[in-house]
Amino acid sequence: MVEKTPILDLLTYIFLALGICIVGFPIFYALIAATLPLEMVSQVPMPLFFGDQFWVNIQAAWQKGNLGTLLLNSFIMASGITFGKICVSMLGAFSIVYFDYRLRSVAFASVFCTLMLPVEVRILPTYEMAANLFSPLQAMVELLHIEALVGWFLQNDIQIRLELSLLDSYPGLILPLVASATCTFLFRQFYLTVPEELCEAAKMDGATPMLFLRKILFPLSKTNIAALVVIEFVYGWNQYLWPLLITTRREMTTAVIGLQHLIPDVDDVPDWNVALAGALIVMLPPVLVVLFMQRWFVKGLVEREK
């Protein structure tokens, strides 16, 4: 420190403690509420000590919210997005940085422009697309009057219907979210810092591009990948809008969305202890991931800025 000012230092710790309290209070309060029986949680103000009903409430939330199934869905979706995003971006960035080909800049621009199209600005058309993957082909069929053409050719009236739906399926939850400009940029940025000599040496030794990727680039990017795993897992787990659109059946939605059914209405029995127990279960996996992989998480987060 520049000056020795004990009062200022003391103030620093007081403010920090205050900040930690503000940040931690909602969770602390929810933890207490989740351990209390119904008649105590509906007292105002609620008693501020831990009860003994934690396990009961957790079980109630687990059953009422069908959390077993929903957590599995969330887990599959989050891991699928994480894995898919990293694979797609790693290969894409490799193609853009390490190859010279005609459509390279077009490919780069098209990846870049996805930054400007988050799912929130194309809600309905993306849903329609996922509801029928062949809808562009269908549109083409209609535009070119292929039906009439084929009908004339076969001397028969026919109807062409192309359909493949992703609604209520894991690919539907995962696929639209695996393309990511930021992730590709991160890999590109990293590849650009890799010394040229490595590639020259590999080429001189006669390594094929894929061997170079596997034996040299991949091992070098391990810390970057670890950072991305944390960020993308949290991102995937916490998705809200897309799973809400793409799933219609209750047992196919994700845990974060399923929680809504646990919140008591104004006229219902105020079983907030169960609702908050459910909320605690659902937030636990990403919080654990962030806490245990904190070093990579901070690195990954800050590096996305560049």
Binding site: D9, A107, V302, E305
Partner: protein, 296 residues
């Protein structure tokens, strides 16, 4: 940019980029083009042909008092959320940067809310601010005499979603501000102190200007967050109500299009949002270039 040492292969680069292009074409570009086309059409809810109406949907939109109200709410909500999260994040980070002991523990205690989904943050704060059972609502009433009710009162509901959204974002800002603080060379601060600048003066004359790239970046990210990622908070705890006081633009696109099935209007709203995010992205990248010069 391309590496000086690179490969030449006729087919492989296309194969490598193919998955990404396929996904972006299917789920980004085609829907975007489709959406833009749809924004100029009125669809027939009973099937049948859509009608091409050019910019009528946009004209209707900008004369619709409900839409204009939603614009106002979104701007107010975003500004309040971003400002709260930024100020608290900056303040806590500045204190954490001063702390000498227990640095790792302090950081751990402050960053985990990043992992909490916005929707869950909404549930936690709804419980704290619930008119009947919330402890904060109870003390508001007892000490300040405020009749707090976010379930019936629109303004209270708006405050509730601002608090819930800002709370989650504090830790994100904290991580970046702390990294920003730590990147400031200590010698500069020591030199200033030697010249007699006090802590406040040092903050405004040295730390703040050096922190401004981070601040700008975070401002953009917080505004994007408040615009787009807070959908979960709103859908979980207020559903846009009461009286439309928490219907932000994104929530309105969802409600009009997905629940109300007013496809043309919803598509037009999407296009407006698209224009907005393009503007934000362009501004951001223009600034990033300036930042590079600044550093060099």
């Amino acid at each position: 940019m391309i590496k000086r040492a690179h490969f030449k292969a006729p087919l492989l680069p296309y194969l490598l980029i193919f998955p990404q292009i396929l996904v972006t074409l299917t789920f980004f570009y085609w829907p975007a083009v489709h959406g833009i086309a749809q924004s100029m059409m009125i669809s027939n809810p009973f099937g049948g042909r859509d009608q091409w109406v050019w910019f009528d949907n946009f004209k209707d939109l900008f004369t619709d008092p409900l839409y204009l109200k939603s614009v106002g709410i979104t701007l107010g909500f975003s500004a309040a959320t971003a400002l709260t999260a930024l100020l608290l994040g900056l303040f806590i980070a500045s204190q954490a940067n001063r702390a000498l002991r227990a640095k790792a523990a302090i950081r751990t205690l402050l960053i985990w809310p990043y992992a909490v989904a916005p929707a869950i943050s909404g549930i936690l704060w709804l419980f704290l601010l619930h008119p009947n059972y919330g402890v904060v609502a109870f003390f508001l009433k007892r000490t300040l005499g405020i009749d707090w009710n976010p379930i019936l009162n629109g303004t209270d509901a708006l405050v509730l979603i601002i608090v819930a959204s800002a709370w989650k974002q504090i830790s994100y800002n904290f991580v970046f501000f702390l990294a920003g603080f730590q990147a400031i060379p200590h010698s500069l601060i020591e030199a200033a102190a030697m010249d007699g600048a006090g802590p406040t003066r040092r903050f405004w004359a040295i730390i703040f200007p050096l922190l401004s790239p981070t601040l700008f970046f975070l401002m953009v990210m917080n505004i994007i967050y408040a615009f787009f990622d807070t959908f979960g908070v709103i859908h979980t705890i207020t559903q846009g109500g009461p009286g439309g006081m928490t219907t932000t633009l994104v929530y309105k696109v969802y409600k009009d299009g997905f629940v109300g099935l007013n496809l043309g209007s919803s598509a037009a709203q999407s296009v407006v949002l698209m224009a907005l995010i393009i503007l934000i992205t362009v501004l951001q990248f223009k600034y990033v270039e300036r930042k590079v010069q600044y550093a060099g």
